[in-house]
Symmetry: C2
Subunit: 163 residues, 2 copies
């Protein structure tokens, strides 16, 4: 069966990148699922932003992640529900709500940085190894490689290789 998106080339690059991104996130989710961490892979960038940049108001968090503000509001509500982040009003501006990692959030991030993120990073690096040349070709290679060996399998292998 012809892969139409691929045949269309530049015309559908947006759909195609979105499709690959979703696949990567889904695979990453499967890696995270095995490690009894109960949040969606899409929440990690927010936690990583707080880890890297420290406590931030909602708007700046949105900027640093380059997503729209309502998305951050929703994620923060979810993570606060889970006790991973805390929210407090700013001292000098009652409109701002400062988001920070809670004690549990701090622990989760530290654990992830130690136990999980390295193997994901290795798996993706493996996926993208030795790619060069035009973008469309690299994307096609990534699609083919993912179809052959999903990211979560690559993460396992990386862990085995490291041990």
């Amino acid at each position: 069966m012809e892969d139409v998106l691929r045949s269309l080339g530049f015309l559908c690059l947006g759909s195609r990148m979105k499709r690959i991104g979703e696949q990567l996130q889904a695979d990453t989710q499967r890696v995270l699922d095995r490690l009894d961490v109960r949040i969606q892979s899409s929440q990690y960038p927010l936690l990583a932003a707080l880890d890297r940049l420290g406590p931030l108001p909602v708007g700046e968090l949105a900027q640093s992640l380059d997503v729209a503000q309502p998305g951050v509001t929703r994620s923060v509500a979810l993570l606060a529900e889970l006790g991973l982040v805390e929210v407090r009003p700013s001292d000098d501006d009652q409109r701002r709500r400062i988001v920070s990692l809670s004690r549990n959030g701090r622990r989760l991030v530290d654990q992830a940085k130690r136990d999980v993120w390295p193997s994901i990073e290795n798996a993706v690096a493996d996926l993208c190894a030795d790619l060069s040349g035009p973008l469309l070709g690299q994307l096609a290679a990534i699609e083919d490689r993912l179809a052959a060996t999903p990211l979560d399998r690559r993460a396992e292998n990386a862990k085995v290789a490291a041990s």
Copy 2:
């Protein structure tokens, strides 16, 4: 403000590709809005598939676009509502429902192929021109270029240049 996704590199490649893809789709939408048919840019790949491959049952359409079947069912229902595609049961298998372009759908695709798709393709090609090297670098370049000149502006310029 630091771009956290970019700093995280391979770790958040999925989120990042999704983000770029969404941006491209949104920009493309703005180009397509100039056609008086008000359908979403995300529907065009399905129309293009029918154009390239001819009438297809729902499942094969899903395969050729590499999306899950329920997504196709929904898109087809929407496009049928708009009178752009037609659905008829297969002769030899009453489970299959064959989707094809209607007269109006045919007209829309022909018009798009003539008037719109080329300028989108040129705009994206322009966006990706002279990119080479590692994937992450190319993605960063695309993000920077998009921020500097959105895709719809590039499409305009391409049209001017062609005339």
